[in-house]
Amino acid sequence: MLAPYEVTRSPHLTLAVRGSLDINTAPALAEEVDRIMANRPPAITVDLGALELIDSSGVAALVKLYKAIRAAGGTITFVNTRDQPLAIFKLLKMDRVFGI
């Protein structure tokens, strides 16, 4: 199985999340977030273009990343959010916070 995310570092630090980010897959992403934050990156792009499904556990994992980046003085940009994940962010009124 594919991991539910992929990290690319050039030209920009990008976290691409794919498939389903849910109670089963969010723990793996949370570990990746710890690795990402160890470098205190100034900016990160979270690409949700290949993310098909998210549940509240997946939202929580992205909220953690958002908080960690901001606490470290960095910036975070969400791109390509679509379909069910977009509906969830809108429902939770996180779409504006995340600049979606």
Binding site: D22, I23, N24, E52, L53, D55, S56, S57, V59, A60, V63, K64, Y66, K67, D83, Q84, A87, I88, L91, L92, K93, M94, V97
Partner: protein, 148 residues
Amino acid sequence: MTAPIRLSVPGTLAYRAVAVRVVAEAARLVSSSKRREPDNPLTVDVTDPFDTAVVSAFMEIFNNIALHAYSAATGTIELAITPGERQLTIEIADTGAPFDMTTVTPLPDVTADALPEGGMGIHIATAMLDEVSYQPGPPNRWRLLKRS
């Protein structure tokens, strides 16, 4: 009306995908009844707003049963899914620990400085559906309804 789809699975997260898949397909039977086309048994397409709402809500309710109701002893989760002309009903029964839904607090206002990391599940389910009812048991019974 045809007979409901019934599914019974062990109440653990390993069976979450199979239950979500069945619910997604049942939602599609309602939402795409006009453009009913054969589909690939290996993929489910959840892009229609109706399907999105049903699947979003169901995932939260399933997670909660597996995690909270079956936190101590485990058992099965029984689904009866009835696709109607313009609505979908999902009845869910589990034999886990009951809880008091009235104690679930509403989600506080979301701002950049106050983002929740939990407590979103019931809120998502009720906001996405037309009706959500819970009757503590045993067995505990959920009834979810979405109109199209």
